[in-house]
């Protein structure tokens, strides 16, 4: 059997968690009510309707048969793409507003995918808008494209800022191409991405001074402005008001920092009214530890234990300077948290039973989720060496308590054992009903990609595969 290369690694190298697993949840919580993809689909439909509505003013305002020349046609296409781009930009910002409702409905993983897809579409649409309008206007005025650029920049109010906005958008777009992004330091990438808000600001003016459908006072213009206000309100709510309310309510503080292994620590947090904190295992917060060196950086960490009313815990692999500083956190340090967010929870499963695949420190959300899954779940825990296995005592206890089978798969990705196991056949042998399970994946990108491929070939439908994403 393939188990020959897998063995339970109960060995712990660091000091164990003080609370252990047992005391964390004396009574394993009930599985939370399921949250289906209904909200996400509804939102998708709403966004499509909005897209149609944004082009409607053009349709109504353009007399049939009025597009006789090429220039008129090209200009019309430019206007349509402009309207679409304006709308997509708002949707894109809305996606980033961290509005609790959106986070709950869509969830981080889908949000990230939507954000990426809409972002790419938006960039292409904006470029199309710009080039179509340039070509169309140049033709109307009988001048070259370059002369037209000059005319637009020189004679048209707000056009310089619109061009700058396009430039920023291209920069943000290109820096988000995966290969380029990996080469950039996170801070630089983040800064670039933050400048996206400038796009909203700089691109605003030209829509109203020159937008054929928007410059006239009337319902269309009013509606468009209202949309802007709405998105800004969502942004304020999701990014400022909701986090403020959350932190004033729960007043989180560091209670203790415990080493889980040589390079992994658990941070225990306490606060007020934690019993009322609605949080699901597998969700994450964006944390800011308010010490001199750390306050300015916000990092998404999953909680590594389900809600228990007394404390929260994050388990962090110490990489990079920021996380290294976390070792030295003093008990009592105030913590600013934004969340909880994510649909990587037991509540979002589609089937009754689940297969969990964790890699390295990716165990943390899965460990928390395990408490809320119904009995019969299966866990595959990939780690490079036995020393990389975290929280194994808790896992063993949960396995017993919640009738969960746990396989520790130790070894390099290229070792024959793990390779065989992480193949479609291996997965089917290990979990014969894998195609009828929800699969939760959390780990390094290589493992996730490999697993998704194997799972798909093993017959698991895409929508039953859940990925934990913290990128946003």
């Amino acid at each position: 059997m393939t188990h020959s290369h897998t063995h339970a690694a109960g060995r712990r190298t660091g000091t164990s968690s003080r609370h252990g697993g047992r005391s964390a949840a004396p009574v394993p919580p009930q599985s939370p009510a399921r949250r289906g993809p209904g909200g996400r689909r509804l939102l998708g439909v709403l966004l499509l309707v909005g897209l149609l509505a944004s082009v409607l003013p053009w349709w109504l305002g353009t007399p049939a048969g009025s597009l006789r020349s090429t220039a008129a046609t090209v200009t019309a296409a430019g206007r349509i793409s402009g309207l679409i781009a304006g709308y997509l930009l708002l949707v894109q910002v809305l996606m980033m507003s961290r509005l609790p409702v959106l986070e709950r409905w869509i969830g981080g993983e889908h949000m990230a995918r939507w954000h990426r897809d809409i972002g790419a579409t938006l960039l292409v649409t904006v470029l199309a808008h710009m080039s179509l309008i340039l070509v169309g206007y140049a033709d109307l005025r009988n001048q070259s494209i370059f002369a037209e650029v000059g005319t637009l920049l020189g004679d048209y109010e707000d056009m310089v800022s619109a061009f700058v906005a396009t430039g920023i958008m291209m920069l943000v777009g290109f820096s988000s191409v995966r290969a380029i992004r990996r080469a950039l330091p996170y801070e630089l990438w983040h800064l670039l991405h933050l400048s996206s808000y400038l796009i909203l600001l700089l691109g605003f003016g030209h829509q109203f001074t020159h937008g054929a459908q928007l410059y006239k006072p009337g319902p269309v213009r009013t509606g468009w402005i209202a949309l802007y206000l709405l998105v800004i309100a969502a942004l304020l709510w999701g990014r400022v008001i909701a986090p403020l309310a959350f932190n004033l309510r729960y007043k989180l503080r560091v209670a203790d920092v415990v080493a889980e292994s040589t390079d992994t620590i658990s941070i225990y947090l306490t606060g007020e009214r934690l019993g009322r904190l609605a949080m699901l295992g597998g969700q994450h917060f964006r944390w800011r530890f308010l010490t001199r060196g750390c306050w300015w950086q916000s990092h998404p960490f999953s909680v590594s234990a389900a809600a228990n009313g007394r404390w929260l815990r994050v388990t962090v692999k110490v990489v990079g300077t920021h996380t290294a500083d976390l070792r030295d956190l003093d008990p009592g340090t105030r913590v600013w948290a934004e969340g909880p967010s994510g649909t990587f929870t037991a509540a979002h499963r589609l089937r009754e039973r689940a297969l969990l695949i964790a890699g390295g420190s990716g165990i943390t959300p899965i460990r928390a989720m395990l408490e809320e899954l119904p009995p019969g779940a299966a866990l595959i825990y990939r780690a490079r060496t036995p020393a990389d296995v975290l929280l194994s005592r808790e896992l063993d206890w949960l396995a017993q308590e919640r009738e969960t089978s746990v396989w520790y798969v130790i070894g390099s990705r290229d070792d024959p054992g793990p390779r065989q196991l992480m193949s479609p056949d291996g997965l089917r042998q290990l979990v014969p009903d894998v195609a009828r399970r929800d699969v939760y994946l959390c780990g390094p990108p290589g493992l996730v990609e490999q697993s998704v491929r194997a799972l798909r070939r093993a017959g698991v439908p895409r929508r039953q595969i859940h990925l934990a994403t913290f990128e946003l």
Binding site: G65, T75, D117, T125, P217
Partner: protein, 192 residues
């Protein structure tokens, strides 16, 4: 990324479809070239608009506001240039009163500010009126004129107000846009 590609393709296709739909000759031409057999109005107009038709209307004043047939196009709401020029005192008329007026609508042309379409009123072989059925109007400035109308700011100058007194003529810069000329030319070509 595959979905983004799909979305981009879809948007491009639908934009093309929209433009093609609108580009196909549709309903605009239906209403044009309606010969309206009616007495000529010898107070012709050029492009300028004006005035409250009831102002110095002649005695049978009801007729004063309908010198020509209502416009057959959607811009009916726009006040067509009517002008009352005389006191009621009937004096000799110099122009042969019996001929027909026709309204001819030029093709619409698109320019970067919007859609331009001109209609001319032809009496006999003479253009007595040219009206822009559809003209792009002044963008951001619309807000200004709308916002500040009827207010006075002592700080610098008066606020532009609209007046609609009886006018004999209007001074203004010519509509020089190519689209206007093209539309006008096509109307004239159709008329003669």
């Amino acid at each position: 990324m595959r979905r983004a590609l799909l979305a981009i393709t879809g948007l491009a296709a639908s934009t093309t479809a929209l433009v093609v739909f609108k580009g196909s000759p549709g309903t605009t031409q239906v209403a044009q070239n309606l010969p309206t057999a009616q007495p000529v109005n010898p107070t012709p107009q050029d492009v300028e608009p004006s005035a409250d038709p009831s102002g110095v209307a002649p005695k049978p004043s009801k007729t004063g506001d309908a010198p020509t047939s209502p416009k057959p196009t959607k811009s009916t709401a726009r006040p067509s240039g009517t002008r009352t020029t005389t006191k009621a005192a009937p004096r000799t008329t110099t122009k042969a009163p019996q001929s027909t007026t026709r309204r001819v609508t030029g093709n619409g042309f698109e320019n970067e500010y919007g859609y331009v379409q001109v209609q001319i009123v032809v009496s006999g072989n003479r253009i007595v009126e040219a009206v822009a059925l559809s003209l792009p109007s002044g963008g951001e400035s619309d807000i200004h004129s709308g916002d500040v109308r009827n207010r006075y700011d002592g700080g610098g100058g008066e606020v532009v107000q609209k007046q609609n007194a009886n006018l004999n003529t209007v001074s203004g810069a010519t509509e020089t846009s190519n689209s206007y000329k093209q539309s006008l030319r096509s109307a004239i070509e159709q008329a003669f």
